[in-house]
């Protein structure tokens, strides 16, 4: 196996194991830490595909900002493992069966198509570099870029308005 294939399978196994532990952990802080491991594994996949800009943005935005925000909220609420509410055992089993059925349906439908054996350009290519993505973003997608700044402004104002104490 080449080093690329070895890295692919290693990162995939790490991402899947950490995702299952996110769902299965009793302590919410453990779930957050496993989700950070998932984000780092997905960043590794981006680097394998040479999507450099997205890899760095993934680390900074998702693992660096969003997960820290989650940690703040969980620490403020002082959640621990004993006070964790659990669903009825049959409902948990039904949820697992539903997710498993969806997985089987999607995988069987998507992996038997004619294009399923198309090769992915890994390790090289200059489409994911910052320069090329920046040119595409500011030439073709300037309007969504500016509107996303308005979106952030509205999200900030909304979060502050929701969080105010009455009176």
């Amino acid at each position: 196996m080449s080093i690329t294939a070895l890295l692919f399978w290693g990162l995939s196994a790490l991402a899947l194991f950490s995702a299952i532990m996110v769902v299965a952990s009793k302590n919410p802080v453990n779930s957050i830490l496993y989700l950070i491991v998932v984000f780092f594994a997905i960043t590794g996949h981006y680097i394998l595909l040479n999507a450099q800009f997205l890899a760095i943005v993934n680390v900074i935005v998702y693992a660096g900002a969003i997960m820290v925000l989650f940690l703040f909220v969980v620490m403020l609420m002082n959640l621990n493992a004993e006070s964790e509410p659990k669903k009825h055992r049959m409902l948990q089993f039904a949820g697992l069966i539903s997710g498993g059925c969806l997985f089987l349906v999607l995988v069987s439908a998507l992996s038997e198509t004619a294009q399923a054996s198309n090769m992915v350009q890994m390790g090289g290519g200059n489409s994911g570099l910052v320069q090329n993505l920046g040119m595409a973003l500011f030439k073709n997608y300037v309007l969504p870029f500016e509107i996303s700044s308005v979106l952030f402004l509205s999200a900030m104002i909304g979060a502050v308005v929701i969080g105010k104490k009455e009176g």
Binding site: V22, Y62, M77, G99, F103, V107, A116, S127, N132, A155
Partner: protein, 110 residues
């Protein structure tokens, strides 16, 4: 590495997120599983952009490779905004009811 392995990995992560949303009662864990689903879709979009880069489609439309990666960028933008507003809502709910249990919110029914 063929595209079907990337499809399998992304679908497995997505279905793990769905099982998490269906199985857990803690609203913060449910929110985190939604972020997991968004990330699996991001990975699949980047893999598809690289698949088109390796194939002959690039000659007819040279934008097709960077379009998907810019879409991923905007998905991350929207996810960041959604997380801030969603966590503000969860904190307000906790302040009023002192619980993050989603079954607790069924009390709004009556």
């Amino acid at each position: 590495m063929e595209i079907k392995w990337y499809i399998g990995l992304a679908v497995a992560l997505f279905c793990t997120g769905i099982v998490g949303v269906l199985t857990r009662r803690n609203s913060i864990i449910i929110f985190m599983c939604i972020e997991l689903m968004l990330n699996s879709v991001n990975l699949l979009l980047v893999a598809f952009s690289k698949m088109h880069a390796a194939s002959a489609l690039v000659q007819s439309n040279p934008n097709v490779v960077s379009d998907a990666q810019i879409f991923v960028f905007f998905i991350m933008v929207v996810a960041a905004a959604e997380v801030s507003v969603g966590l503000a809502i969860i904190v307000m709910l906790y302040r009023n009811t002192h619980s993050v249990d989603v079954n607790f919110l069924n009390r709004l029914k009556n």
